[in-house]
Structure formats: structure tokens, C-alpha cells
Symmetry: C2
Subunit: 316 residues, 2 copies
């Protein structure tokens, strides 16, 4: 019996299903969560399905999170999507459920759940949910809204098919686009920035530092960030800007936090750079990782280490 078959059996048995995803959600977290919720609601209208976690204002169009009391968990099937490890699950009451299911596409370094379906070969957890729907398409029904959620999730995790996509991803997207939803609007909403974010982009392009070795970085202090009025827009749009430079082999954004330390986002085109993240209180994927720099000195250390790493690769 495959994991998928077990999970479908669990869904069929349950009257109440609560779906979680990771904290600080990206479109794939929300897309897989809401897409799965839509899939279950449409296929089994008699079941009660909740989606929980902190509401993300920028992704409110994908659906609202539910507020539920603790006692609902006791008789519920809990499914967590797109979340590699338990500390990152948004709404830690997930552990109170009757049965726990993990559905994810990240490396399964920290397994959890009574049932677990992890496939690192797919682009996104949203693609996994689509595969689940396809595999049991004689029993399951997907709504247009659910298709829109899954499409947005795949677009989010692939940088709109820039990377991590393959023939299966595109076949899934082709299948999703048979549904009736406005993908142009989704693409536009995920591709555009606010006028103020455009000003920040201008600042970043004019102040980024590109080393001879191909490390492109920018340090954004509180003073700099406070000189702009980004509001709720966030700063995640800055990282892709750094990678736009054709000669950049790796790039980083050092963003100072209110507490004074720096959040570091590290990216690379081909050369695994997560070793540096691990040495500096972080981790992640080989080409996309995060770290913490306690102060300006540690910022400079990370820059030096990245520069050194790229030099070593260039020499051999």
C-alpha cells in the first residue's frame, strides 16, 4: 500500500480534517494547504475541513485561515503540508490530532507523522497535491479555486518555472490550466511589486557589491530600510534581484532585524553554499539557504567565506 493510498483511506475515515503548513508561509505552503482543503471539500462535502495557521495578508486571496478551538483537534485527522520539521509547523496544536499525516517535498531529515508522503523529486508540495488528485481522479474532484491554489503554489516554488521544473511539472500545470481561473492575474500578482518596493529595488541595484569572484551582496541596515516605507510588503523580492546579474555565481541579502542582528539569505546558481549557512546558525538547500549574523563582524566573515568559496571553485 502506497503512502498516497493510506492517506486517502485516512481522509475517507475522518469526519474532521485540519490542514497545517509551515510558519512564514510562501505561496507553496498556502497553495498546498488550501488546494488540499479544496480537494477534500469538493470530493467529500459531508466532511468538515479546517485550514489553520497565522493569516498571511499578502496571500489572503488564496483563502482565509480558520479559527478553531482546542477540542476540535482531539477527533481530527491532521495533515501538515510543505513542512520539513515539526518546530516549523504553524499552529503547534497539530500534535493534538487523532492521526498525523506529513505531505512534503523537502528532504525528509526529520520525519514525523503516523503516515508520511515525502517526494523530493517534485517542484513543490502543490505539485504533490495535484499528483494525489490525478492518481485518484475517479474518486476525487478538484474545484477551480483549488486548481488556482495549486497553480500559485507551483509558480511560487519554481520562480515561475525558472528552476526546479521538469516535464511532469509542466504536465501538471497544463492539467491545472484546464480549470477556470485567472492565471494571468495570479502571475501578475506574484510578479509585481509596490511603487515603494521599486524604489528599494533601485537602491539595491545601485548599491549591490559584486566581488571579482562573482559574489553579489547587499547589506540592508535598519537605517536604510527605515528610509523606505515598505509597509507590509516584506523584503523577499530583494533576493531574486541579486540573482539577476549574469556574472553572479552566488548572492546574499543581509537584512538587519529590529533586535540588531542580521537575517542572511544565501543563494547560488550552481555552487552549494549552504555549508556557510550551517556555520552561521542556519541551513537549508544547497543553492538556497539562510543564516544569522549577530553583528557587522559576522556579516563580513560570511562575505569573506563566500568569496573564498567561489575563488576555490574558480580555481578548480
Amino acid at each position: 500500500m502506497t503512502a498516497q493510498t493510506q492517506i486517502l483511506a485516512q481522509i475517507k475515515q475522518a469526519d474532521t480534517i485540519i490542514i497545517h503548513r509551515h510558519q512564514r508561509p510562501d505561496p507553496d505552503a498556502i497553495g498546498s494547504q488550501m488546494g488540499l482543503a479544496e480537494l477534500i471539500r469538493t470530493s467529500f462535502p459531508e466532511k468538515t475541513v479546517y485550514t489553520v495557521g497565522k493569516q498571511a495578508p499578502s496571500m489572503a486571496w488564496m483563502g482565509e485561515m480558520d479559527q478553531i478551538s482546542d477540542d476540535v483537534f482531539q477527533r481530527a485527522l491532521v495533515i501538515v503540508t510543505d513542512t520539513a520539521n515539526e518546530p516549523r509547523v504553524d499552529d503547534q496544536r497539530y500534535i493534538e490530532g487523532r492521526t498525523l499525516v506529513k505531505i512534503d517535498h523537502h528532504p525528509n531529515d526529520e520525519p514525523y507523522g503516523d503516515y508520511s508522503w515525502v517526494d523530493t523529486t517534485v517542484s513543490s508540495s502543490s505539485e504533490l497535491i495535484y499528483d494525489f488528485y490525478q492518481e485518484f481522479s475517479d474518486e476525487l474532484t478538484l474545484s477551480d479555486a483549488g486548481a488556482a491554489d495549486l497553480y500559485a503554489g507551483i509558480v511560487g516554488d519554481t520562480g515561475r518555472f525558472l528552476y526546479a521544473s521538469d516535464t511532469a511539472t509542466m504536465a501538471a500545470v497544463s492539467g491545472l490550466m484546464k480549470f477556470d481561473f485567472d492565471w494571468n492575474k495570479i502571475n501578475q500578482s506574484m510578479d509585481t511589486i509596490s511603487p515603494e518596493a521599486a524604489k528599494v529595488s533601485g537602491y539595491v541595484y545601485e548599491h549591490m557589491t559584486l566581488t571579482d569572484s562573482g559574489f553579489n551582496y547587499i547589506i540592508l541596515t535598519n537605517e536604510i530600510l527605515d528610509s523606505f516605507d515598505l509597509g507590509d510588503f516584506g523584503t523577499s523580492f530583494i533576493v531574486p534581484l541579486m540573482g539577476k546579474i549574469n556574472v553572479a555565481k552566488a548572492w546574499a541579502v543581509f537584512e538587519q532585524q529590529d533586535e540588531g542582528f542580521y537575517r542572511v539569505r544565501l543563494r547560488a546558481r550552481n555552487i552549494p553554499i549552504n555549508g556557510i549557512a550551517k556555520r552561521h546558525g542556519g541551513g537549508g538547500h544547497p543553492l538556497a539557504s539562510g543564516a544569522i549574523a549577530q553583528n557587522d563582524e559576522e556579516v563580513q566573515e560570511i562575505i569573506k567565506e563566500a568569496d573564498q568559496l567561489l575563488k576555490e571553485h574558480a580555481n578548480g
Copy 2:
């Protein structure tokens, strides 16, 4: 007999085939031209296939253009891809061929050719070539290099699936990605800019003017452009930057030419703006058109007209 069947019959009859595309080629022009050439070469190794037109340095990776003498045309089947009208055909000797075929996805306002296959419902001419291969897949063979050409063409004409894509486009891309080529590399090469272009991007983001009506424009005089060293990189990367602003409903880049006049690129999200282009010596698609402004006064006129148009739409 469909146009496709007629075209395949013509290809089978011909010993020599010359493939043209439009001047100032974009990736879809080159992709459909080279992809079709690859398709014919791989399927019919005994035939001689030439691709002509001015070599585009930035797209040299998609293949070299051939230099051929005038007499080759007399006995050749000439196929022109992705070119709406005859004046735009690159290498005007196309008319000297024995038989002329048009394959295109632009509106067929100015038909030409002995045989013509025009389909405006597809994303790109490269998608059409893929459809041609699919329809006759029992007789035709596509190489990995040909698949790479067609993929690049589709990516180019859709802004990497940002617009103009549908379920059929994605199915075609899924089919192309079954071939062995480095789509990550193609995506990266089409998504990145030079360090100097990044500086220009910074300038553009910091100096763009956004009207209350949602018209976002920038005027790039020779003086401004000369202050950067773009080299051969071109300026086409600037237009998409303008559309990145979420509240922009239409946008324009006014780029002064050596002769003093301005080349105007006009874009819109939903509101047809090509009427303005037509009034100012240009034309094009409803949401993507070009015009000429003879001087600063005409630049200001165009800005005023665009602002007025957006205001009228806002008022209903």
C-alpha cells in the same frame, strides 16, 4: 487538406529549403526558424536546409545563420516563420524562391505566400512548429537541439509563461522537456542582465514617473544612456521593469535614438493602448505596441494621451 498537410508535402518535395524570420529577431523568431530547420534536417537528412538573416549575437547559442548565394533561391522552398508582413522579412531574397510558405501566430492582416499557416491562438511560432512536429510525429523526428530552440522561443514570447500561455502551451513545453537539453541554463540566460544593465535598472526604478492614473514612464535621453556603458546588451530589458509596478496599468519607455527622435515602447496590462501608437507613427498589438516621437513635444503629447486614456477607463 490542411495548411499543415500542404506544408509537409512541400517540404517532402523540396531538395533545398531556406528558412527566414523577421528582422531584429527575438527568441521566438530564431527559435521557430532554427527549430524548424532542426526538425527538417533530423527528419530528412538528405535535404539541404539553410537559415538566413542577420546574425543576432545575443542569440548565437541557438545556431548560426548561413551565408548563401542568390542562385540557391531559384530552386528552393522558402519558409518564413514568425513574420507578419513581407517588409519585415530578414533577407529580402525570400521572394526569389520557387515556392513561398508563411508560418506565423500574428494577426494575418497582410497575407503572403503560396501556402500559409497562421494561428493566432497559440503563444508563439515556436509552439506552432512543435504542433507541426506533434501532428506528424510518425514521420518527423525532433533533435534535442531543436527542442531547445522551440523551448527558448516559447519562453521568449510568453515572458516565461507570464502571459499568452494556456493548457496547450504547457502541454507543448512538457513535451519539449522530455528532450535532453539544459532548460535551466536557457531560463537563466534569458532572465539575467549584465552588471551595467543592473545599474541602468537602478536608474530606471529610481527615476520612473508614475501618474495618478497608473501610467508609468521613463524618458531615456542620449545623455542618460551615454552615461552608462551597455555595450551590445541592448535596452529591451527596461520595458518589463516598468510593468513590474503593481499599480501601473500601462507603461512606456521613451528611448532617444542617435538621430534625435525617440523610439517609444508602449505596454498595458488590460487596456488597449495601440491606438496611441497608431497616431504616432507606429502600431502593434493592443497591449504591446511601438511608436516614434519626433521630439520632446511629441513625447509629452504621448504621455498626455496615455494619461487621458487611463483616466477615461478609470471613470468607466
